[in-house]
């Protein structure tokens, strides 16, 4: 089952928005593949819009971590639009100390565009 994602570019920043509610083992692989494809093209400034997501399980978390690694030091992968559950999940798992998190996609894009 392919993970439904909406991908658009805004300057040097690529916004990857999940249209799925749950990010779990089924979609984790797809997510990584997609990020891999983006990074492969040379795009390293990525905003992951999670506003539709209500839950991420550990394989989903693993995929996000793996993606960060793919992006490497010359770029960044940040999170935008995290709702209540995702926010608390990120806090619970300490992911909030690894990823920059923004309330809206716009803020995230602005932050990555200039830096």
């Amino acid at each position: 089952m392919l993970m439904r994602l909406e991908i658009k570019k805004s300057g040097r920043v690529t916004v990857v928005k999940s249209l799925e509610n749950r990010m779990d083992a089924k979609v984790a692989v797809d997510f990584k593949t997609e990020i891999g494809r983006i990074v492969g093209k040379g795009d390293r400034w990525i905003v992951f819009d999670v506003s539709e997501i209500t839950f991420v399980d550990s394989s989903g978390l693993g995929a996000i971590v793996s993606s960060l690694k793919m992006v490497g030091k010359e770029g960044d992968l940040v999170i935008a639009g995290a709702g209540e559950t995702v926010l608390s999940l990120f806090k619970l798992t300490r992911m909030d100390r690894v990823f920059q998190m923004f309330a809206t996609e716009k803020e995230a894009v602005d932050a990555l565009a200039g830096s």
Binding site: N21, F55, A82, E84, L87
Partner: protein, 138 residues
């Protein structure tokens, strides 16, 4: 299997187990594993506990309604109350201390477990009536 049933208890934590028993028994009739049945029971019990504690401030004398709705491929639990709404929505500015585990949204661990176990978790509130809907597909 198709069917609906409404269970109502007083907002008394010591009566919650009756809901748990009923949910567990019903889950034995649907095609989910024993572990899943246990987990579902836990979720519904969590939700009812949260309702009593947060919507009603642990005060007795109020009603907690659990509506169970089954169809051929899913089961949904609606936990309803007429008490205080649960805070939802994004918190735009969040000054928090990463060490502080207390600073979790309503329900804390319980809500998280619900999201882990159930396929859909939706909260809605209208005209003084709050409903938490938990759905499991099978």
């Amino acid at each position: 299997m198709n069917g609906k049933i409404k269970l109502i208890i007083d907002s008394d934590l010591s009566d919650v187990f009756l809901i748990g028993l009923s949910v567990n028994r019903i889950c034995l009739e649907i095609p989910v594993s024993e572990i899943d049945a246990y987990q579902i029971e836990v979720c519904v019990v969590e939700a009812v506990n949260n309702t009593i504690k947060h919507a009603y401030g642990s005060e007795k004398g109020h009603e907690v309604e659990v509506l169970i709705d089954m169809d051929v491929e899913s089961i949904t639990f609606h936990i309803c109350d007429t008490g205080k709404k649960m805070e939802t929505g994004k918190k735009p500015t969040l000054e928090f201390d990463p060490e502080d585990r207390e600073n979790c949204p309503e329900g804390g661990m319980g809500l998280f477990i619900m999201h882990q176990v159930m396929d859909e978790v939706k909260y809605s509130s209208s005209q003084g009536r709050n409903v938490l809907a938990l759905t499991k597909h099978f």
